[in-house]
Amino acid sequence: MKSEIFRRELIEIDMEAKNTDDFFEQMAKKLSSLHYVEDTFEKAIRERESKYPTALPIQPYAVAIPHTDCEHIKKPFIAPVRLKEPVKWCEMAANDVVHDVRFVFVLGIKEAHQQVDLLQNLVVNFQDEGLMKKLEQATSIDEYEAVLMTMKGLEL
């Protein structure tokens, strides 16, 4: 069920973060308190992001998919977040290229091979400008969740 992938309790819209470190600090606290991640998660995700950045240069809405190695994850999740103001985020495989990112999907992958199809379909949906625009315009968590549920190909 799609709703099991996007954990409603992890959806945030209009989250305020100054930069990626601030974002990771806030997310780590939340994820840890809800028992999704180990205490090592925050450091791991910051380090990984700095070495292997995760912003996908999709037009017109860039999307970031930060994640860590499996050992820092307790329960698998995807945390869909819309930032109130764009945050500077470095591009995947082009570390020096910076994007203004408002849409972040934090991926909590417990087993390497588990979410392959899901991720493939997720990135296809990120390229759907109409869908992304609806995410941009959503004014409540209910609305945001409803748009996420329209994403194609995520039936499990």
């Binding site: 996908l56 999709i58 998919i65 994640h67 495989a93 091979h113 493939q120």
Partner: protein
């Protein structure tokens, strides 16, 4: 069978995703080549046995085999061009 390798930063998300997508695209294009997601650290070891390297991290080294931009398969941007490059490498 010929092989192409894919490597990303941690091997849990993007390399698997790209490997899966590329495998499907190659099959659709009737290119019979194996696609394997490997650990970034061991990429060098696969140079002799692979016909192409699909990179999802910044590459600063020069490799003896064609390097394909793996991000294109995640964003769709430039994907057709990279796929053609890959198929050409497979058909060498």
């Amino acid at each position: 069978m010929k092989k192409v390798i894919v490597a990303c930063g941690s091997g849990v998300a993007t390399s698997q995703t790209v490997a899966s997508k590329v495998a499907r695209l190659l099959k659709e294009n009737k290119v019979n080549v194996e696609v394997e997601a490997v650990d970034l650290k061991s990429v060098d070891r696969y140079m002799d046995s692979s016909v192409a390297y699909i990179a999802i991290t910044k590459t600063t080294k020069v490799y003896p085999i064609p390097v394909i931009n793996g991000i294109a398969f995640l964003t769709g941007i430039g994907m057709e061009a990279e796929l053609k490059k890959l198929i050409d490498a497979c058909n060498q």
